[in-house]
């Protein structure tokens, strides 16, 4: 036996030696970090093979990236690395219904010269359905490892952009040398959001809804034309190579769904209204407010992914002499909070299957928020189904992922305790059969950390990435302008004021929009009797803002720079 193992070792060494000297395609590993074997046997574990089905003292065998055996008395292959999982719990790794995981935000698009037209360039208007997340994937993106650390194995990743950013793909949250290794399935859905173009058409939901109808109906005509031409081109005008219309062809043919990124209840209804008008297959994700539309969701059978982003629990004012009015307002606010945290349970009660989306949620909030939903009535089995089997079936993955069963992709989550308990921690993740280990922290340390995050939440306004005072530098042809930008957030909307050190009167900032790091606003200043419109778009990185400002006056426009630093500690 021993000699056999030695032989095997030699063989492996030899192989790796050859690999070192052969083409770059091979899996060379001069660091020696890569696994010796891709066969694992996770022994003596409690295996939750799917929601509601638990096996004690079971073994899961993984080989070549697949689950090859699950059960009590399974034989362990010779080449397997045996992991003693006594006291550990094995789940199918989670599936994220919608996120930007793995994608790198593209450089912001420069503002075109001629923007005030009914049809500004498509890339600026955000109408790029022909694009794909594939062109934005960055294998070094930290989001891949941070979402994996949060328990996810597959992400339905969507591209950055505006109204129609492009197609989504299913991404395996694994380390890779090349992007192709982690793309499980390409061009899964056409991704859409209610995000207008700064200062150009369509600028807001009004224009977006109309533009959608216009694009879709033209795409239907284009598809008919293309098919007619394919049958017999003779005597027919040639169909234009219209990339936007062509991107809609599979949607019109219903081989591809539209995934609408929605936020509030009215967004959900708008997406459903477009679906009703135009007839495509719809999925909705990022849903935060669905409690008033349970009947409609059930009737329409729309696949739905709830947002894992929950509001912070309201804090009661501890004043002894607070007025009845304040008490009533606090009570109403608490009721509202309950609606958010119990809606998953309400949907479950109504028999609606749903998944979750992490878009806008940090990985380290995932478990806490699912636990909050469980405390508010969601069953553990349904929470697990939302994270695994429901998501798998809605994304057409149920044959390959979502359960711990033979033949499925080896995407596993190994936790130190039943996952839906306070003390559980993720010890290992297997993605596509590759093992990732995590340090298990002592409970005490964890507690400290959680109080830490609480403390920082208290100062919720100072936590807002935009709200507050910023000192800006605005580089104009006449020199550098300085002053303050003050942003205020009220009811989820930003307003702002800009002050000038040179004594120019304050001006209100209009159309202040902040979305995932991108901040846009515009303002008007007086340029010697002419109104100068300035539109600023840029990225917020912590306390720093770097933006491009486009100033337009009398048909001319030019690019300027505006940078700002947030005040305070």
């Amino acid at each position: 036996m021993k000699s056999f193992r030695m032989l095997r070792l030699h063989f492996v060494l030899l192989l790796s030696f050859i690999a070192l000297h052969s083409t770059a395609l091979a899996q060379s590993d001069p660091s020696g970090k890569s696994a010796v074997t891709r066969t694992y046997a996770i022994k003596n574990a409690t295996v939750i093979s799917k929601p509601g089905s638990e096996m004690k003292d079971a073994t899961v065998v993984i080989k070549n990236g697949l689950i090859v055996n699950v059960g009590k008395n399974v034989s362990i292959p010779d080449d397997a690395e045996v992991i003693d999982a006594s006291g550990l719990y094995v789940y199918a790794a989670f599936i994220d219904g919608m996120a930007n995981t793995g994608a790198k935000r593209p450089e912001s698009i420069p503002r075109p010269q001629n923007i005030f037209t009914p049809d500004p360039p498509n890339d600026y208007a955000g109408i790029t359905p022909e694009n794909s997340i594939i062109s934005q994937i960055d294998i070094k993106s930290s989001s891949l490892s941070s979402m994996r650390k949060a328990g996810f194995g597959i992400s339905h990743s969507v591209p950055y952009g505006r109204m129609l950013p492009g197609s989504s793909s299913l991404i395996l949250l694994n380390d890779a040398d090349h992007m192709d290794e982690i793309v499980l399935s390409k061009d899964v859905s056409l991704y859409a959001q209610f995000v207008g173009a700064p200062g150009a058409y369509p600028g807001n939901i009004l224009g977006i809804m109309a533009k959608w109808r216009n694009l879709y109906r033209n795409a239907v005509n284009h598809k008919n034309h293309t098919e007619l031409y394919a049958q017999n081109p003779s005597g027919l005008p040639r169909p234009v190579n219209d990339r936007v219309s062509m991107a809609f062809h599979p949607v019109i043919g219903k081989s591809k769904s539209v995934m609408f990124d929605v936020d509030d209840m009215l967004d959900v209804r708008r997406a459903m209204r477009l679906q009703k008008d135009l007839g495509f297959n719809l999925m909705i994700a990022g849903v935060k407010q669905a409690w008033d539309m349970i009947d409609e969701l059930k009737a329409s059978n729309t696949p739905i992914f709830l947002s894992l982003d929950l509001p912070d629990e309201p804090k009661e004012n501890k004043d002894d002499d607070k007025s009845d009015e304040v008490k009533a307002l606090e009570e109403k606010r608490l009721e509202a909070y309950k609606l958010y945290v119990s809606q998953a349970a309400e949907l479950q009660k109504a028999g609606i299957k749903f998944g979750f989306s992490t878009k806008g949620t940090r990985g380290n909030k995932v478990k806490a928020n699912v636990m909050t939903m469980i405390e508010n009535g969601l069953s553990e089995a349904d929470a697990l189904a939302a994270l695994t089997t429901n998501a798998a079936s809605m994304l057409g993955l149920d044959k390959v992922a979502g359960t711990v069963e033979n033949g499925k992709i080896a995407n596993l989550l190994v936790s130190t305790a039943p996952y839906f308990t306070k003390k559980s921690q993720i010890k290992m993740m297997f993605i596509d059969g590759d093992r990732h280990d995590y340090e298990v922290k002592e409970k005490k340390a964890k507690k400290e950390k959680s109080t830490d995050s609480k403390a920082s939440e208290t100062a919720s306004t100072s936590n807002d990435p935009v709200a507050g005072d910023w000192s800006y530098a605005f580089i104009t042809p006449g020199g550098e302008e300085n002053g303050k930008l003050t942003f205020t957030k009220e009811n989820g909307k930003y307003t702002g004021v800009m002050t000038f050190e040179d004594g120019t009167p304050d001006t209100d900032l209009k159309n202040v929009n902040y979305r995932e790091g991108e901040l846009a606003f515009d303002f008007e200043i007086d340029g010697g009797g002419q109104a100068v419109q300035v539109v600023v778009v840029g990225n917020v990185d912590g306390k720093n803002f770097e933006g491009k400002a486009t100033a337009s006056v009398a048909g001319q426009s030019f690019e300027l720079e505006l940078t700002a630093v947030k005040d305070g500690k």
């Binding site: 200062g199 009004l206 033209n218 409609e296 009811n491 337009s552 009398a554 048909g555």
Partner: protein
């Protein structure tokens, strides 16, 4: 077709029907002074409402079994107030990024959660005309709503069957945008030109599609679809009523000429502070006007007006309404109507018509609402005194016979969706409805500044 499929389809139909159903009420309003608007004032009269409609008006009516009775003795019962120009209950107001955006529609952005709806109900208002803003020459389509506060589905607030309407804008608002961007229109001439060009393009668009539809060939290729052009075609076909933001008499007259040239018969001028100067012309055209009672001088083009505007228009036979254009003014439109008695000696019925029947005519819903008549919708407001008295207080407001406001049981905090992360201590008074830009610059001019000799 398989039975299972048929059943599924039936079930789907039934469930959407069930969802679209809004509540219709039954009520007997007893012993009030009924201001019918179309049939004078009826003392000590009962109004019986069945299934959301006024089924009988008369004396000593008896409530059918199970129908609630409201005692209106000593009180005044009037048709629900209709605001022909409002920007409450909208998630967005302007798609101001381009000068002709006929394709956008306020029906897509109705926000049933806006607490302003309840505040309007508390002022006796039952219907509003939710308008697109006036940032562009041809703005978006508007939406006529019934204020059924409490529903969260925007469709449930829709005034079902109301004609489509659209917003146009003349004067300073669209030209300011044009000048700052260096595009058309930079002057009133440019505004006229843009409207004429747009309609001319729409005529060409219609021709293309008519030819396509007439083509019997199986191998025909559809022309490009353009929702913007299609909407303009619909206007010319008379399917969409135009409501135009305007101030000056010359531009009001200009638009009537343009509409005559394109054979568009129906036209309502909004604001129209100088409409009284062209009142006979408006009457001859058949155009109507929706004005303020006594609000002007908030920017240069509206520097000159008169509180007699509504009265002069009415006396010249122009269908005139008084609108709010504001989430605050909407709560006391009855005061605004009363001002026309002070200034123009209009009769009670004429004054009340300014906020009921006439706006209903302008919106094409006068067959349904705007007066208390048998067969009309039971959209009714009850006041403790005559609504044209400054002392009158609205007590109850009914839409489709359902009580949506009752002063006696008012809960105070009527917000529907509360932000769980909002802070309670902080009070911020900010009127989002000023964002619609119709009165842009309204706060920039004040009398003291205007007549001050200090610069």
């Amino acid at each position: 077709m398989k039975m299972k499929n048929i059943l599924t389809i039936l079930l789907a139909l039934f469930s959407t029907m069930a969802l679209a159903q809004v509540k219709k009420g039954d009520v007997l309003i007893k012993g009030g002074t009924v201001l019918t608007v179309t049939n004078g004032t009826l003392e000590n009269t009962d109004v019986l409402v069945r299934n959301g409609k006024i089924s009988k008006i008369g004396k000593n009516l008896r409530a059918p079994r199970g129908v609630e009775t409201v005692d209106a003795t000593g009180k005044f019962v009037m048709p629900g107030i209709i605001d022909a120009h409002s920007h409450i209950a909208g998630s967005a107001i302007n798609e101001g990024t381009s000068q002709v955006t006929a394709e956008v529609s306020m029906e897509d952005v109705v926000n049933p959660l806006d607490v302003s709806i309840y505040r309007a109900l508390a002022g006796g208002v039952t219907s509003i005309h939710l308008m697109h803003g006036s940032a562009n020459v041809i703005g978006g389509q508007n939406e006529t709503l019934k204020l059924r506060y409490g529903y969260t589905n925007p469709d449930d607030l829709r005034f079902e069957g109301a004609p489509r309407t659209i917003k146009f804008a003349l004067g300073e608002n669209p030209t300011r945008g044009g000048r700052s961007r260096g595009i058309q229109p930079q002057s009133r001439m440019g505004v006229e030109n843009m409207i004429r060009n747009s309609f001319t393009q729409a005529v060409a668009y219609k021709k293309k599609w008519d030819a396509y539809r007439a083509d019997k060939s199986a191998r025909k290729v559809a022309p490009e679809y353009d929702l913007r052009m299609q909407t303009l075609v619909d206007i010319m076909n008379g399917d969409v009523l135009v409501h135009c933001h305007s101030y000056r008499a010359d531009e009001i007259y200009m638009l009537m000429k343009v509409f005559s040239d394109f054979n568009i018969p129906k036209l309502t001028f909004q604001h129209a502070n100088e409409a009284y100067k062209v009142a006979p012309e408006l009457a001859a055209f058949g155009a109507s006007a929706s004005v303020f009672a006594d609000w002007w001088a908030y920017k240069l083009e509206v520097y000159y007006s008169t509180a007699y505007n509504a009265a002069i228009l009415t006396n010249n036979g122009v269908t005139t309404s008084i609108n709010s254009d504001s989430g605050e003014l909407i709560r006391h439109l009855f005061h605004e109507a009363a001002k026309t008695q002070k200034y123009g000696n209009l009769s009670d019925d004429e004054s009340l018509a300014l906020i009921t029947l006439n706006p209903a005519k302008q919106l094409g819903i006068d067959n349904r609402v705007g007066s208390i008549e048998e067969g009309k919708d039971a959209d009714i407001a009850i006041f403790d005194g005559h609504p044209l008295s400054v002392y009158a207080i609205p007590l109850m407001t009914f839409v489709d016979g359902v009580k949506y406001f009752d002063k006696a049981t008012d809960k105070g905090d009527m917000r529907l969706y509360v932000n769980p992360e909002s802070s309670i201590e902080e009070v911020m008074i900010y009127d989002r409805h000023d964002d619609h830009r119709c009165l842009e610059g309204a706060n920039a001019l004040n009398l003291r500044e205007l007549f001050s000799n200090k610069k």
